[in-house]
Subunit: 416 residues, 4 copies
């Protein structure tokens, strides 16, 4: 284990010393791109790649858009070339060489461009940021969205689960990582370093993040966990400064109360599922007393749905409010048959089930606005996760506790 640390303590990207300074061309960037794709070896390639990355970094938005347009349009596949390769592949009996030609024609040159840009030490993060720009600039533009598919295809390969590293984030973590945790927290904002400390240092708090070895300073996704006795019913209570802290071996439940993606440029590459399972697996090994894994999750679409489905309805009681929330979570569906609530889709897709709903669980302004204060626990039952997932994936079956099912049934009787 230490060997790994040992091996990697040499961070190439930070101490890389090129053979002379990166030279800049006066040529248009399109010419440099063509040169990089056409170059026969790494010798000149790395210098060209560095130049493109550096120049991209200094571009204005409109220049970036022009750059993406060029790459999307001029470095796309050539259908006729691919058809010819396919013909030869079939005619000549699927040999190695004919297959190689199909592969070459089926892959647009822009994929090779992205791979070659990545030869530059430190380039991976730059490419992730490049894709974030692309996603922002692409809106509606089909050619750019197609280009994005190439980025995403390569990133899915590079950020394969097998390459990620799980790392506990604690009050002993480096400050420059912690400031990113503060910045990236998307669910329950962290207001200050003191606030951060309260989420990391107490014995009943945990935080874990995935990292990629080529981006060691950038968390990809992180989850915040509270260790509790019994299932948490209120996020304000959970985060209260003056709560009684538990010793970690007193806890019987791990509550995942916040999951945040950190990199816009990795949109569509899913890490959350792996993260929750890896963390649960690690916690159960370290703290055998923990038997229950739940979330304490927002229901972001509830108020909006309620206003549309039952205009003017003001729930008469907590009971009624919770019934409606349960109904929304497990019965309100999109056209494709999946649950309307995005957080529900995420956890159900992971194999969790809808376990409990709680009123006055998030009394923040945001919590009241989006879900009238209601929150939900999704339960990760280790023995049922695979089966739940299967049912959801194949038949859109929504797993729920009998309590939730009962509440949802009661909701049907509510009239405006």
């Amino acid at each position: 284990m230490t060997i790994f640390a040992d091996i990697l303590s040499t961070v190439f990207e930070r101490r890389y010393r090129p053979w002379g300074p990166a030279r800049r061309d006066s040529r248009p960037i399109e010419a440099v791109v063509a040169d990089l794709i056409g170059s026969t070896g790494e010798v000149s390639g790395t210098g060209l790649a560095r130049q493109i990355i550096d120049r991209y970094g200094e571009m204005e938005e409109d220049e970036r858009l022009a750059f993406f347009r060029h790459v999307a349009t001029d470095l796309a596949i050539v259908p006729d070339r691919l058809r010819m390769a396919l013909d030869a592949y079939e005619a000549e009996g699927q040999s190695k060489e004919t297959y190689r030609a199909v592969m070459a024609a089926a892959e647009p040159p822009r994929q090779e461009l992205i791979r070659r840009l990545n030869q530059v030490p430190g380039a991976t993060h730059a490419l992730v940021q490049m894709r974030a720009d692309l996603l922002r600039l692409a809106r509606g533009d089909e050619a750019l969205l197609a280009l994005d598919l190439d980025f995403r295809h390569l990133f899915a390969s590079w950020f394969n689960r097998g390459f990620l590293v799980l790392r506990r984030i604690s009050w002993e973590s480096p400050a420059h990582i912690l400031e990113k945790i503060i910045a990236y927290e998307a669910v329950h904002a962290i207001e200050s370093w003191r606030d951060l400390r309260l989420r990391l240092e107490p014995t009943d708090r945990r935080c874990y993040a995935f990292f990629h070895p080529a981006m060691p300073d950038e968390p990809l996704i992180f989850v915040e966990v509270a260790l509790t006795r019994g299932i948490a019913k209120s996020v304000q209570a959970l985060l209260a400064d003056d709560r009684r802290q538990l010793a970690s071996d007193e806890a019987d439940t791990a509550v995942f109360y916040s999951i945040s993606n950190c990199q816009d440029g990795l949109a569509g590459i899913s890490f959350g599922n792996s993260l929750i399972k890896q963390v649960a697996s690690d916690l159960v090994a370290a703290l055998p007393g923990i038997r229950t894994f739940v979330t304490l999750s927002p229901i972001p679409g509830f108020s909006h749905w309620l206003a549309g489905a039952h205009p003017g309805l003001t729930p008469a009681s907590d009971k009624q409010l919770l019934s409606l929330a349960a109904f929304y979570l497990i019965r309100a569906k999109r056209e494709d048959g999946l649950p309307m609530d995005p957080v529900a889709r995420f956890h159900l897709g992971n194999g969790a089930l809808v376990h409990q709903v709680h009123a006055r669980a998030d009394t923040s302004e945001k919590g009241m606005r989006q879900s009238a204060g209601v929150m939900v626990n999704y339960l990760y039952d280790l023995k049922q996760v695979a089966q739940n997932h299967e049912g959801f994936a194949t038949a859109h079956d929504v797993a729920a506790s009998s309590e939730i099912a009962g509440l949802a049934a009661a909701a049907e009787k509510i009239t405006t």
Copy 2:
């Protein structure tokens, strides 16, 4: 920098604890493979992938061959499906969705299989070994060779230069790494731990290897370097136990006297070029006194060529022998116009030039047999490397010193 070590000191793959033990199916492996490719999420996927890797590991050669045949044949692209996708792509004006369909049809399911197998922590090395098996078993089988192209395509992406880590190997390195250096040394065999120590510990010796973060216990390629005053002319003198050791700051020359690839399963993924340049770059920063970077290289094809080109010729003198060697290196070409000698092709392709040849430079049995004891220095001149590479890559120009050019010219006058 230490942060990076810190982040990665948690090696997931070694402490990974699955949600219960990997279950084994009684189904044929083809069914499990189909299941893995078809699975909609990671939940069941990782378990299936683990099962396939475990079962593959226990297979006999013929079972492995059958497994590869299945993957090569049944998980290939379907040309008609790809043609239809292409038609739609052109007809509908190259939208994101039509492009996505082309990508899906152009990539054989076996690529997705390999990627999903790699989700299992630790699987990367298993996949590299799987490809080594494939290369051994494929000989001549076009379908299997086509399958290998898919492995190679993915590995080129995974083992991108930007993901590799350069690491010095020293007498303070872990023993389980060092024993692999002993095992993998391909040029000048290391006979014992004592012999190894003599190549690592002295102040005028260096050794560097590339590693991949997902295979921290496996060097990918390594180079052994001797720091000298002046250019080495004999490998036996270079490696002699009783030579005078230099303090590292006395040296003016770095001699790369051995480069060894370690992983059969990474054949065709070239690291040597990057390795030499990175090491040269690091050495020049650490030891500014070093101004010359050369190899002391074998000429593996010389004797064989000489016997064919000049049957019965016994060189009358060292001079004549060296003339013939110089001629062989820079004039003897294959049909494709590239030099006949494989080591020459490697270094010339990197941008080095043929600098000097020496008689009685490798008096080992192997050295006498393959090149009559002659060795060659390829010179890496930092200012000319890019230009040399370009000339070689585009016009097959072989860069050589005037000394070598003169020797080669003299060789033309030698008659049997």
Copy 3:
């Protein structure tokens, strides 16, 4: 080097698991102390030591005072026993055994007590804090002050320069270390994490601390350094947010603008001298462009001295103010012949010389109050440090630049 990290990554103290929980006695602590000193081996010793440390940790101030009184009084040397041992030592010709008896009688049992308490992993920091308590409680009590000499004697041995580790503190350092830097900064207060970041992250800032391996979470002393072109004349300018940041290789001067001791319990164990020299030595190796090492130091006693020496005097000009400051620094002496100013004593004792004084150099409320805004640069001239030190140590010679000497001479002509 990584080996060292590797070896030490196992922090015994944090994962130490005793053979069963520490048992608590109902006996008075004096009895447990007696038992620990008398115990013949470590077996029971560690448990007793742990018990004492735990119980001490829970004591109120008056109980701690009683504890110290007991240790100071009842575990002191016994003069008659020492005299007898001395007699035997001389009578029997200074044998090993008679010397051993002298050693045993000359060392008070309380030193052995402190050493045995330190057998408990993690105890070192607890003992340092114990001494901080002692120093606070001892005021004026000769017996307790004598006990403190024993602590100090042992700490001087344990915190020997050879055991300390210099460590750069950066924005990548662990947050729990950084919060201590904020807390311990004694010269120019750090107001917030943002303020801290401005002292750590810019390319022209450095911070270094000494650590002891047995207290890895506790800096012992740290120094903050600004890299500048030319000698800094104002601490507000030096720390200004909107200053132009230098690339580190543009700098020609390193300004030590703050040195803070962190551990009250290590009072009298001097680290500052070593720290400055080690840091200067490291900087000169890493950044050869840096040729000048100076401080930008407060003159804490100037205003007080001025009010006493020249009651009612208001300097008529900057020139006059600086003359008086220069005079104060190099001419105003205590009865023992040493300079009146404590900071001057520290740097002159290290071998620095008084180089320049600046008006309006610290315009903070504290700076105006204690020295009318004047600050001083002490110069560490590597070639003269040993000689300056010698002169100061043996003859109280104060080294100063001719500029300072001239200013001080001019001060003599100032009359109230």
Copy 4:
């Protein structure tokens, strides 16, 4: 935990760059020593200390002896000075100042010399080696033996249990550490790297060592452990290449089969007791299935004792042989009442009990010679260790199993 590694990854001693090269005096070393002891600060001190260490390193044996003689004789305590200080201490009522004078007079200047030598980074190991020289050269010389008491006194403080780091030694440990394990193994010699590997790599083997942070490349003591089912009865069976290896969680017993001290210069500073207990404590936490901790120990004095106590006796049976061995272990005593066997004294002093004896347990030439092949298991019973230790330490009670007691009783009936 990683923080600690992080902090210490900067190994000061290896990158220490003094302010200019260490200067050499032409003065006799006695003058340099006097200068170092008399120096008032560290400024010149470190240079002087370095000079002394360097010059010592180059001395011949006779020069070293002369050096030790000087230090032993001329830097000893001055009894009259100490008597005067004692008088003042009592007369003036034990003030801080009078106590300081006693401390100063009671400590010989040579202790301060050793401490100041240790200010040089890396000096700790040099001082340990210096003491090894002293012990070798001192034989019988009372003044030198007295000097050794000062070394030992300081080392006991520096190598306090609280400063040591336990580290597992594995096949992934650095080669330069492993070669020291090979060299220092004192009980069952390690013949080769292959042999070493067989003691480190199998799942049922462990090795642990203590290190001191200031000597990270030097193990102080190490223990080799075999994990077994049931108590091992033969060291050859235990070490056999072809034994069935256990998975670590199959084991119920940990057998400490070899403990080796590594540093002659730390003679008399006991680590073995702490090491065994720390390792047992770590093993029980990591492998809860392990319930029994025993040694498999040689009985080095048995044959010698038997030849003296029962001249000419050849045991008639294994039973008789074991009876005699049991008798020897628990009944044969030295004049001071302690067991004759040195290994027995060590483990009994640690609180172990004599558990079983086995015939044909060490059939090596050495084993047959020193104990007729008999070996013994000492049992570390966690619940009785403290009590056993107490009985042994205070009343020389030897703890033994009833089996051993019975065997010893039977021995009394054996007549020659």
